[in-house]
Symmetry: C2
Subunit: 227 residues, 2 copies
Amino acid sequence: MSQPKSKPPLEPEGAVPKAVVNRLSLYLRELLRLVRDGHQTTSSSHLGNLLGFTDAQVRKDLAYFGHFGYPGIGYRCQELIDAIRRILGTDRFWPVAMVGVGNLGRALLGYKGFGQQNFRIVAAFDVAADKIGESIDGVPVHPLDKLTEVVRQQRIKLGMVVVPASSAQTVADKLVAAGVEGIVNFAPVTIVLPPTVNLVGVDLAMELEQLSFAVVNRGNVVPANDD
Amino acid sequence: MSQPKSKPPLEPEGAVPKAVVNRLSLYLRELLRLVRDGHQTTSSSHLGNLLGFTDAQVRKDLAYFGHFGYPGIGYRCQELIDAIRRILGTDRFWPVAMVGVGNLGRALLGYKGFGQQNFRIVAAFDVAADKIGESIDGVPVHPLDKLTEVVRQQRIKLGMVVVPASSAQTVADKLVAAGVEGIVNFAPVTIVLPPTVNLVGVDLAMELEQLSFAVVNRGNVVPANDD
């Protein structure tokens, strides 16, 4: 309460459910779109409407991190964008290491969405001799056995595993040993990491499953409204 | 209650929150892994433990769809796998149309995870003359203006938009007009669809944001435990 409204705290007051963090990413994207469309302010009900959440949900999610609204005005879009970026840590630059330069790896190297949120793949790794030494979209491809050295030198904290299922665990272990604290796993296999390391698995078939469920259960799905 | 335990209903009794459907996909993957590892049965607490949910959460999620546990046994893994597949609609084959054959599109055409869940990209579309007529991983690349014809002919209900942001909305509209009922959007832009069409947006930077948040807020994140 003594916190001035213009400087919302970076750190939440208590433990935050993962689903809340996920929704912050969604709010951020809608706010960026609102600003692009010329809006300066918004409200919890407007923001909620855009995403299919209630206004109460939006207020409850943001309340984990401070007080962002102004009476009679609502939220100032750019201010809330800046606050969410501070909360998510994306107000700073994050170098990322990527292991595996197949089709998906190449696509990720060219993916524009990372840079927009301050993530940049700065080093790629592979075992194939014909890929090593290559530079793809400006990112150098190193031999896998240089991983520890490069990750430590560039103080890389985030890694992406884009190798076949059979080598995903080995590669993830290498990243962790080198000092990486968060891993996105694109390999279609479950990997196990020490509890201090954060893991997000990307399984693209899961998105399609949400759709097949919705198609076979028309009218029986409600938007996520949980915390 | 009169439902025999061996035939859980396909249709939920009421509206199901999206987060529950998402967790069904996660349960399915852990169950498949358990079966691969030789387990025949599991319990709500074991399944919950593997994913960081409580046993109550697991039971509550499954209760939307029927009664799956056996006293003194727990869940029979293969039976629950079959039930979840029936619920998600992935006990049947889903042909998928993909628009945009860039790096990411090519990666998706080779992505093994789709076939494992009964999704298959059967037709790809692009506007680039040098791609049209090509066959990638056995999938023909058609000119974009054949989209309506091919989607109708093959009764395709699911589509993936893998084009640049500037053409994502136009392409999505075309898919909907052709009869597609669910769309996964990989373009880094928000698209708007009629309420009867289901939309899932994939923004790969969001996964990294979950990690950057976790790295800057060590110990302040709890697993999703909501419904």
